[in-house]
């Protein structure tokens, strides 16, 4: 009897995550989709004007979509090479003695709260860029600042996933390559890294998810101007930023449009998640 009850309890607990996903979808879509319809899908997704409080309000989130894409792309350009190379270092170059401390350091990198990153970006990266690129009209808070900061923030994800993918490649690949006369580097970059390709890619996709969903750190360094940017020295507003910046005072349709912004973000994330799980299926060692 007790067995039966507890079996039920365990099964019920297991259903909570399904329940949670369904609830999240229902509540977001039920509040967001009608707002999209009211504004008009094309006007909402393709409109470049964001004037939520004007007498003739405009709710175009195109600048924010572009903002999120630019900032994420920047983070990938900066974070991926450094992250993958660091993973190579951790897997093939790192002296045994310092491996443990360095591994803990990457875990620490993952554990630092995003506000702390954001604050660091605000007091270090932003003034630095402002001074360096003053001639280009850079005010500091810019796509570039957010890209650098996010590039740093996604490092632990990329390093962790890539390293385990690299380690999962059979030793014989490396040995075979060196036996044929390849140097250490050639063996790694010509045979091991290509073999770990889908795992590394999974790490990159996970990093993209982190970058596009990051909120607080980005708000603090990206300027939050809702307009299509002209250069990487301009400030932009991301989808995540749009939600947090406006939610404090939004009412009525404006508020629902913000939830619709969340829906767009959610759909982006779902696409990213699905690509990640497809890749993961191809390389079960990743992630």
């Amino acid at each position: 009897m007790k067995e039966k009850i507890m079996h039920g309890v365990f099964a019920l607990a297991a259903l909570t995550s399904i329940f949670a996903v369904v609830l999240i979808c229902v509540f977001l879509f039920a509040s967001g989709v009608p707002a999209m319809q009211e504004v008009g899908f094309l006007k909402f997704l393709g409109g470049t004007g964001w004037k939520p409080t004007a007498s003739n309000p405009e709710f175009g989130i195109f600048p924010m979509i572009i903002g999120s894409i630019y900032v994420t792309a920047g983070a990938i350009i900066i974070g991926v090479p450094i992250g993958v190379l660091t993973a190579v270092f951790m897997a093939f170059y790192c002296p045994k003695k310092i491996y443990r401390p360095l591994k803990s350091a990457t875990e620490l990198l993952a554990g630092i709260p995003s506000v702390v990153y954001g604050f660091f970006g605000l007091v270090v990266i932003v003034p630095f860029l402002r001074d360096l690129f003053r001639d280009y009209g850079c005010k500091g808070q810019s796509i570039l600042a957010a890209s650098i900061l996010l590039g740093l923030m996604i490092l632990p994800t990329i390093i962790g996933v890539s390293e385990s993918a690299l380690r999962a490649v059979p030793q014989s690949y490396y040995e075979g390559a060196t036996a044929l006369g390849a140097t250490h580097e050639e063996a790694i970059f010509r045979t091991v890294l290509p073999a770990a390709k889908s795992g590394v890619l999974a790490g990159v996709i996970l990093g993209i998810g982190r970058a596009i969903g990051e909120t607080m750190a980005v708000i603090m360094v990206v300027g939050n101007q809702p307009r299509v940017p002209g250069s990487i020295f301009d400030g932009v507003r991301t989808l995540t930023g749009n939600i947090v910046m406006d939610m404090a005072y939004a009412e009525g349709l404006h508020r629902e449009v913000l939830i619709a912004t969340g829906v767009v973000l959610f759909v982006f994330i779902l696409i990213i998640n699905i690509s990640f799980s497809i890749l993961k299926r191809r390389d079960p060692n990743a992630g």
Binding site: A14, F27, Y93
Partner: protein
């Protein structure tokens, strides 16, 4: 010996690649060290006793209420998420038939949950707990929201811990006549405790560092939640406190100091998690 063979065959490209690899690692770790040292150097001088005053006011901008609220939020979220997460993992590993459709769906949803950004959790918490369930901006709305957020982490780490418990333990327990339930609670779970603990500690880290999911669910009131309705009080955790200080811009020094406290918490959490993880190795 290996090194000798290689050095004879050095080619320019290999040398460049090696330099790049080492340079990348240096950039990664230098950035981390710079960030930590910078915050510590600028923040420690501001750690004055008044920052830890019992009451917050705009004069002393005390972070003490925020620290207490962070603790309350963490404990509450863990009370909700840990049993759910552990039970889910027990079901997946010990009860469910291998390859069942349900298990696949549960895994998929848990994976989906772990990819959802915290701001989306915040929106959901605001729509569901704050508005639909009329909990208002409160400790309990925030705790429920972050509980869902950490659920996948608890499930995954517990699953891994359970899987790594040797099959022998279960067989021995069954052999002695124990039922499945007794086997789970007496033989399997106790030896999986360090692994579960490592996951729970990581989850604590996420709660402590969370901001976006809390601003519109738990609110920003810098007062310790007390009294019989403390669950319905609006609270401000330390990370939210730091965000508010730095976005207001009047208290940069105090924001640094809050950053120091947050960093110290993160150090402690990571160290504890490492200790717990090492325990797993000992058990094996």
């Amino acid at each position: 010996m290996q090194a000798e063979i290689k050095s004879n065959r050095k080619r320019p490209l290999s040398v460049i690649l090696k330099i790049l690899v080492i340079a990348a690692a240096c950039v990664t770790f230098a950035a981390l060290i710079f960030l930590i040292v910078y915050i510590l150097i600028n923040g420690i001088p501001y750690l004055k006793p008044s920052l830890f005053a019992l009451e917050y006011n705009s004069e002393n901008v005390s972070m003490f209420p925020a620290i207490i609220n962070t603790l309350q939020m963490t404990v509450l979220a863990l009370i909700i998420a840990v049993p759910l997460g552990v039970f889910t993992a027990v079901y997946l590993v010990e009860y469910a038939k291998k390859g069942s459709k349900l298990v696949e769906v549960i895994r998929m949803t848990a994976e989906t949950l772990s990819g959802i950004p915290s701001i989306v959790y915040g929106l959901f918490g605001m729509l569901f707990f704050v508005q639909r369930l009329h909990m208002g901006l409160s400790l309990i709305s925030g705790a429920l929201t972050v509980a869902i957020m950490i659920l996948p982490l608890v499930i995954r780490t517990t699953e891994e811990a359970l899987i790594s418990v040797p099959q022998m333990y279960r067989e021995a327990s069954f052999g002695l006549g124990a039922g499945r339930l007794r086997t789970v609670f007496r033989a399997v779970l106790p030896s999986a405790v360090p692994g579960i603990l490592a996951g729970v500690i990581l989850a604590i880290g996420r709660i402590v560092g969370e901001t976006a999911a809390l601003i519109y669910t738990a609110g920003t009131v810098a007062e310790i939640a007390v009294g019989k309705d403390f669950l319905l009080d609006s609270t401000r955790t330390l990370a939210v406190h730091m965000y508010i200080l730095s976005s207001e811009g009047f208290h940069t020094g105090e924001a640094y100091a809050t950053g120091v406290v947050l960093l110290i918490m993160v150090f402690a959490i990571n160290a504890l998690s490492n200790i717990a993880a090492k325990k797993i190795g000992v058990n094996k």
